[in-house]
Structure formats: C-alpha cells, structure tokens
C-alpha cells in the first residue's frame, strides 16, 4: 500500500499526463476532447512551475542559516548579508510589484550588473586557456586548433573585411563539419531523450522521485 501510494501513483501520474499530451498531438477520437483537457493541464503546469521558483530561496535559507547559527568563521556575515538581500528583493518586489520603478531600480543596481559581469568574467579564463591549452599535440587537437584559429580570425570584423577569403572558409567550416557533427549529436541526443522519456513514463527511470526507500527500490 505504501509503495503503491509513494511510488506507483506518482509514476502513473507521469504516464497519464504525458499520454494526454501525446494523444492530443497524434490521435483524434470522435467524442473525446483531448485539446481542452490538455490546455487546462498545460496552464496548471505553468502555475506549478511558478511554485518551484521558491526552492532556491528555501535552500539558501537552510544552508546559510546553518552558517549563521554556527557562526562559521569568515562566512557567517556574508551568509547573513545574502539572506538580507533575498528578503529585501522579496519585500520590495511583492509589495510594489515585479515591474515597479522601485524594484526595477533594485534590479538594475545589483542583479543585472552582477549577472552580466559574472557571465563575462569567464572571458578572462578563456584567454588563459587559449594561451596555455590550445596546443596542436595530436591530429584531433590540431584540427580543433586550426578550425578555431580560422573562425577566430573570421569573427574579427576587420580581418574579415581585410582578408575576404576567410569568410567563405569559415562559412564552409560552419556549413559542413560543424553542422553535420552537431546534427549527428542532435539525432543521438533526440533518441536518448525519447528513450529517457519512455523509461520515465513506464517507471524504469525514477530519478524525479528523489530518494527511494528499500521497499520502493524493490518495487
């Protein structure tokens, strides 16, 4: 009974929900309106996904709350500041509105600048990687180097304007080896995704259930 409720029913929900959307797309049965039901469930999915947006904040409160309560040396003041920032954003955003001028100010002065800078800071490490790691040690790395070199040159607008032959060279590299290899990867990944989806529907993949008890594993 316990395994039925805790494992089998969630897997059955996955199966039936996925089947609903597959039927809506592929099958037409007179008298059965898959579309309306699928539309309702689809919109429920949006709201449920919205509920999951709070997980990050909850996890951070648990993790950094431990640092604060234990007064972890060199860490707890930062943990306290982190939680204050979460609360500040939440209070301002929920009370004044997610697109209010006050929240926009808060976003632009902190999150936007930080996000843009964190993303871009990897460029420094790439520069170091270009110098230290991009070596023609064998055929494969040599190929990566040569293609990378040509495309780096093409991506510099002045080099492309000053040395026009590089444009069709880079276009060929893009259209032939890159697209074909990516297509091969895509087809393989699509087969994998289909297999994973079917396995999840029939209960062979239970990763989404989280930790399983011994009884649930056996089932």
């Amino acid at each position: 009974m316990s395994v039925l409720v805790k494992r089998t029913i969630p897997i059955a929900i996955v199966f039936l929900t996925a089947l609903l959307f597959l039927c809506e797309f592929f099958i037409t049965i007179p008298g059965i309106d898959f579309k309306s039901t699928a539309t309702i469930v689809n919109n429920w999915g949006i709201i449920l996904t919205a509920f999951t947006l709070g997980f990050g904040a909850v996890n951070l409160f648990i993790f950094h709350g431990r640092h604060i309560s234990r007064r972890t040396k060199g860490q707890w003041p930062f943990s306290l500041w982190l939680l204050i920032v979460i609360i500040l954003f939440t209070v301002v955003g929920v009370s004044t509105g997610a697109s209010s001028s006050q929240y926009t100010w808060l976003y632009n002065s902190s999150y936007f600048a930080l996000s843009a800078t964190v993303y871009s800071s990897l460029g420094f490490y790439m520069t170091s990687g270009i110098y230290r790691a991009l070596r023609a040690k064998n055929i494969e790395s040599g190929l990566l180097l040569i293609v990378g070199f040509i495309v780096l040159a093409r991506n510099a607008p002045a080099i492309a304007a000053g040395f026009p032959p590089i444009i069709p060279w880079a276009a060929w590299l893009s259209a032939v080896p890159t697209t074909s290899a990516q297509r091969g990867i895509m087809i393989g990944a699509a087969l994998g995704a289909l297999a994973l989806g079917i396995r999840t529907m029939i209960g062979r993949e239970t990763g989404f259930l989280g930790k399983l008890t011994e009884a649930e594993k056996g089932g």
Binding site: F25, A38, L53, N108, F112, A136, A153, A156, A158, M186
Partner: protein, 282 residues
C-alpha cells in the same frame, strides 16, 4: 646540483595569468579610448533576417520572446534594440512580446527606454505590447501557442488584454506571421522549434549568443529556422537599420581582442613546440 635555469620556452609557457589579463584589459580599453573605425561586412544571415521582416505585409503580427538574461544583455540587447527599430520604422506591424526568461520583462523595459518608440509614433497597446513573463519554458510556449487568453488575460502591468487594440483578433500561434526569439538558453531556442515551428509552422527568426550558434545550425539547415544570428552580429543589423549604437561600437574592440587571441595561440604553440624540439619534457 642546483635547480635548472629556465629556458626561453619555459618562460614563454609560464607567463603569469595576471600579465595575460592585464594585456587583455589594455587591448579592450585602447580601442575604446581611440576608436579606429574598422569596416564591418554584412553577413548573409543578418541580411536574410532583415529582408524577411522588411517583406512582411502590413498588419502582420510578430511574437517576440525576450528570453535572455542579464548575463546575455550586452550581446543580445543591441540586436533586440536594432530589430525593434526596424519593426517600428517599417510600421504597420504588431509586436507582441512575452518572456520565457525571468529577467525578460525588466530587460524589455530597458530596451524600450533605449529605443523610444514614440519617435516613430508607435504606441503601447496599439503597435506593441508585453504580455509578461510566463514560467515553464516549453509549457509556456505550448500554452501561448494554443491560446494566449487561456494562459493570461492581462499584460505585464496587469491591464486587461482586451483593452488594447493590438490584441484584437490575436489569440494563438495561427494568428502570427513570424516568431522572433532572443535567448541565452538552449531550452528556449530549441523549444520554439518544437512547440511553434513543428506544431504550427510559424516562420522563426532566432538570435542567440555566439557560443550557441553551432548547436542551432542543424535547425537552420533543415529549414526550421529562417535565419539564425548571434548577438555579436548586432553591429551589422544596426548598419542595415541605420541606427549605429552599442553593437557597432564593439567592432574595433572585438577585432583587437581577437588579434590578441590569434597572437596568443601562435606564441603558445611556438613555446610548446620549441620546448618539445629542444628536448624539454612534456
């Protein structure tokens, strides 16, 4: 006996990262202080994008997904702004925007402030609108494709969609002539192929980060995307639209920094092979 002295190859291989970063920073700053004005050739995919929008008949509705995050704004923001300039200048088009990115609505506000639609006589709710951020990525795309009003009845400020003339007769994917997506996420760029192009055959223009272009190329080759561009090509779009801005400003810097990269690749390999052929290990 004592430690071996470093050869020239060892020294070349072990340049401290601080020196490399310092050179990189200088290479960034110099062209910004002293612009050179390098030419920027227009690539075929940017021209194809421009032509597609230019050939849209009056009254066409465009669904635009502002799906990029703050991290991608320096690259995709200028492209989005340039394309909006084109849409507003052309006139007669309805630009309905949504966001599959959690920062999308705020970044859209930023873009609109930069564009100033009023200069073209364009009004919110008549020529353009934002229906808000919708969670769920493909779930949101599928929901909006089926029915916008079944998903949301308001714009991103909370005003009723029916109070805006632009939304008259617009409710599902079949009412749109074009889909445009600006995104930093593969889930979004590929999700629109699955949820709109495959289901409704809506023509699709896709702008992604340059690093994402290779993974999207198979879709373009198969005809599922009309034109795939990277945000790095924003300068070219600005030239076509006649509104040079942040995108074209980066051309000099990108040229100089890429020349630096090419030099680093050459020097690094000279150091490697020099050490290898002079009898050094590794």
């Amino acid at each position: 006996m004592g430690k071996e002295s470093k050869t020239i190859w060892d020294r070349l291989e072990d340049i401290p990262r601080e020196v490399l970063y310092g050179i990189l920073i200088i290479t960034f700053i110099m062209p910004m202080l002293f612009p050179i004005g390098f030419p920027v050739p227009i690539s075929p995919e940017v021209q194809r994008w421009y032509n597609f929008i230019d050939n849209l008949p009056a009254g066409s509705a465009i669904m635009i997904d502002f799906g990029y995050s703050g991290g991608g704004e320096p690259e995709l923001g200028p492209m989005a702004v340039a394309v909006y300039h084109h849409i507003f200048r052309k006139g007669g088009l309805k630009a309905i925007t949504m966001s599959t990115s959690i920062e999308g609505t705020l970044l859209w506000d930023k873009a609109m402030a930069e564009i100033n639609p009023a200069q073209y006589g364009r009004q919110y709710g008549v020529d353009y609108i934002h229906i808000g951020y919708i969670t769920g990525t493909e779930t949101a795309m599928a929901a909006v494709g089926k029915s916008i009003r079944a998903t949301t009845t308001t714009d991103y400020h909370g005003a009723s969609l029916d109070s805006f003339p632009i939304m008259n007769g617009i409710d599902n994917a079949g009412d749109f002539s074009l889909l445009i997506c600006y995104t930093t996420g593969g889930d979004q760029s590929e999700g629109w192929v699955r949820q709109w192009y495959t289901t409704y055959q809506t023509p699709y223009l896709c702008a992604v980060l340059a690093m994402m272009v290779p993974t999207m190329l198979p879709y373009q080759k198969a005809g599922q995307i009309v034109s795939l561009v990277s945000g790095a090509q924003a300068g070219q779009m600005e030239l076509l639209v006649g509104k040079p801005a942040r995108g074209i400003k980066s051309a000099d810097v990108i040229t100089m920094t890429h020349i630096l990269c090419l030099v680093l690749v050459v020097v690094g390999n000279i150091a490697y092979f020099g050490k290898k052929f002079s009898g050094g290990k590794k």
